[in-house]
Amino acid sequence: MPAPGQESAPVAAAPAAQAPGTQAPENLTGDQKPEEKQATCIICHQNQGGRLSAPTAPFPTDIHAERGLTCASCHGGDPTSMDPKVAMSAAKGFRGKPSREQVPEFCGRCHSDTAYMHRYNPSVQTDQLRLYYTSQHGKLLRQGDRRVATCINCHSVHDIKLVSDPGSPVYPLNIPGTCGKCHSDENYMQGYADLPGLTQVADYEKSVHYASLKEQGNLSAPTCVTCHSSHGAVPPGARSIADVCGTCHANNRQYFEKSAHAAAFAEMDVRGCVQCHSNHDVQHADERLLAGPDSVCMTCHQEGDTGAQRAQAMAATIRRLEAAIIQAKTTLDEADRAGMDVNGATAELAAAHSHLVISRTAIHSLDVAQVDGEINQGLPIAAKVLQEGKDKLAEVQSRRKGVALFCLLVLGIVLSLYLYIRQENKTRQSSQS
């Protein structure tokens, strides 16, 4: 039974078309240890210099080497022979260095073989090759474009790391740089006129998504591949943008799809979320996008029309809750600095903040009543927490007054003792004299 990757990918000429039993890489057989098998390749290549010796240095740190694979596992040949003619003979299955067009199948030979890959990781994906040929990169490679990205452009070669390894070019924090290597290079991207520009990565690095990734270390924050996919990378079409963003922002999508905007945007062929939030340079969204100088509503609506009035009403009510939360938080912080335990109150305030977040989500419904509903649930919580904070500050004051009284009492006692000692000294001196 062919591996899943072979069903749709026309790679008949590639080794992947071979029967599964023969397509698997060289397994570790015999008494020879993997490092001994590899050593013969490395021993010769280290002495070659230049590009022939280049792979030998990083390969020991490659994930393949760590899992026991050798040079011959990918390149074939007979690593037990020190004779280059034998070791690298076609009769011994030597495949040599793949051409650029052959790279996807070269890697897919193992990575599309589910049975083989599951020996190393039962949950690993094995459809990368199939997905790759659905991507813009794969399609252009098929058309003979040798400049498009293949496996090795993103994953590197001979020093490949797991995606979870911070040193990997496809580790979440490194993905913008990896995509940007080509997509931000003006010279390299010449000839791809259908791409929107070269500023995607620079724009992304100004976004709230990147801030979450880089500054907060949130590795699940969206990167290039979250919206564009990795192996099946394509630009999302205008119609699918709401679905792409809605993968994470599910509530926003639901409200948006039920709103009057959904039909109107479709009719005008306006790109859903991106119209208001931009695509790569997505900024923190709050009520400033509704009303005020940065309002995105006013790019389409006129001052005083129903849309503008709703936007202003929603912004005003959301700002009320936000102000109440900030006031409560400031009071709690003050109590916290004074040494009071505010953990319970802080947890309560988080509930008010949830209503604030939901209210900001609910604006996509364009329904003022729905937004008000959330705000009216959040305001009493914020007010209660504010009162708790004030109570704690009052307790701090009463503690301080109590201690001040105690100190005054102690001062009185100390003074009395001092006066007693002085009196005693005088009495003693007069009796001595």
Binding site: G339, D341, N343, R400, F406, C407, V410, L411, V414, Y420
Partner: protein, 379 residues
């Protein structure tokens, strides 16, 4: 026989004025020698006699620690899951719990500061000289026990700072050559800091250390009563030359009243610190979290911690940290044995060198502690 063995005849009529509790006690225990001792106990008065108050102040603060510690013990639960929560409960739910816990935290530091001051004042007044060698040794043992109280108590709230500071501290102990791995496992109750370490430290803090401290403290106090207060060298020589005795102050009530003033002031300072700067609880320890940057032990261990940082990793193929620990160990032993090292005339060259070494130690401790604080602030 029976009648003659009892201190007082039970059927004898009570003497006039013996209806008071003291009279009742005296009838049974014969307090006359004790009263005689108190009546005659005196403290010499001279220009350095204010240093005499430090010992009593340290004892008073130690008693505050004992009392507040017992009160905390009523609520504290020494387990990984409950320790932090129980301290939080004390601070938020128990009436005056915040005050008791804050006083315990602040007092622990004041006790250490006073114990160090008392020790250095004794050193520079050369009060350790014959016949008070054992008083010095018992005092040094008490200082070591105080450090043990501080180290074991620091972990008990089970917050992030205490967790990682204990990790650093036990790692240092574990670097000792030979015994290190055993000491590390003995302190931690395993390879890493877990609930077992917490239970063990709790045991040290409330049972083992108090059980050792009580007799050593009794010995220290008994020696002081037995030998009386030491006179500084200059005062002793002056009066010897004049053939006179220094003026004296009756211990009871004159000295005690003056001491009481210091105790009251210490109590007011403690209450003020506890109310204005409550002892923080911090964040519950998470053994899986990474250590926060700039983790440091308590201030009284800082000079050693900072020194170990400056020692190169290798010194002549020997581990630098191990050499540092051994040097501090040797320094501690020499300091303990000062009365036996400095046995010559108090004004001799050797004695002057011992004094200079003491000045160097004080300056070194102050400078290294200050450097550690400054570096932490700049980070």
């Amino acid at each position: 026989m029976e009648k003659s063995s009892s201190p007082k005849e039970p059927e004898s009529s009570p003497a006039p004025g013996r209806c008071s509790p003291l009279g009742w006690l005296e009838e049974r225990l014969d307090l006359a020698p004790l009263k005689e001792f108190v009546r005659h106990k005196a403290v010499p008065v001279h220009k350095h006699s204010h240093w005499y108050y430090l010992g009593g102040m340290t004892l008073f603060l130690f008693l505050v620690q004992v009392i507040t510690g017992i009160l905390l013990l009523l609520y504290y639960q020494p387990s990984e899951s409950n320790a932090f929560e129980s301290v939080r409960f004390v601070m938020t739910q128990v009436r005056f719990g915040w005050l008791i816990r804050s006083i315990h935290g602040w007092c622990a530091n004041l006790v250490m500061a006073l114990a160090f001051s008392h020790m250095f004042s004794t050193f520079f007044l050369k009060s350790y000289r014959k016949p008070r060698e054992l008083t010095w040794v018992s005092g040094m043992l008490l200082l070591g026990l105080m450090l043990g109280f501080g180290f074991s108590g620091y972990l008990l709230p089970w917050n992030t700072l205490s967790y990682f500071a204990t990790m650093v501290g036990t790692n240092i102990a574990g670097a000792l050559p030979g015994l290190g791995p055993f000491v590390l496992r003995f302190l931690r109750g395993g390879d890493s800091i877990t609930g077992a370490t917490l239970t063990r430290f709790f045991g040290f803090h409330v049972a083992i250390l108090p059980a050792i401290t009580a007799p050593v403290l009794m010995l220290h106090l008994w020696l002081i009563q037995k030998q009386g207060m030491s006179l500084p060298v200059s005062v002793e020589e002056k009066h010897r030359a004049e053939g006179s005795k220094p003026p004296e102050l009756r211990f009871f009530p004159d000295f005690l009243i003056r001491e009481l003033m210091g105790w009251y002031i210490a109590l007011a300072v403690l209450a003020g610190l506890a109310a204005l700067f409550p002892w923080e609880l911090g964040v519950k320890a998470d053994p899986f979290a990474s250590a926060p940057p700039g983790i440091q032990p308590e201030w009284y261990f800082l000079f050693m911690f900072q020194t170990l940082k400056y020692i190169p990793a290798k010194i002549l193929s020997l581990d630098g940290e191990v050499l540092g620990i051994l040097a501090f160990g040797l320094g501690g032993v020499l300091w303990l044995l000062v009365p036996f090292i400095d046995r010559g005339p108090a004004t001799g060259n050797w004695s002057r060198r011992v004094r200079q070494a003491g000045v160097f130690v004080v300056i070194y401790i102050i400078v290294m502690t200050a450097v550690a604080y400054v570096l932490k602030e700049s980070r």
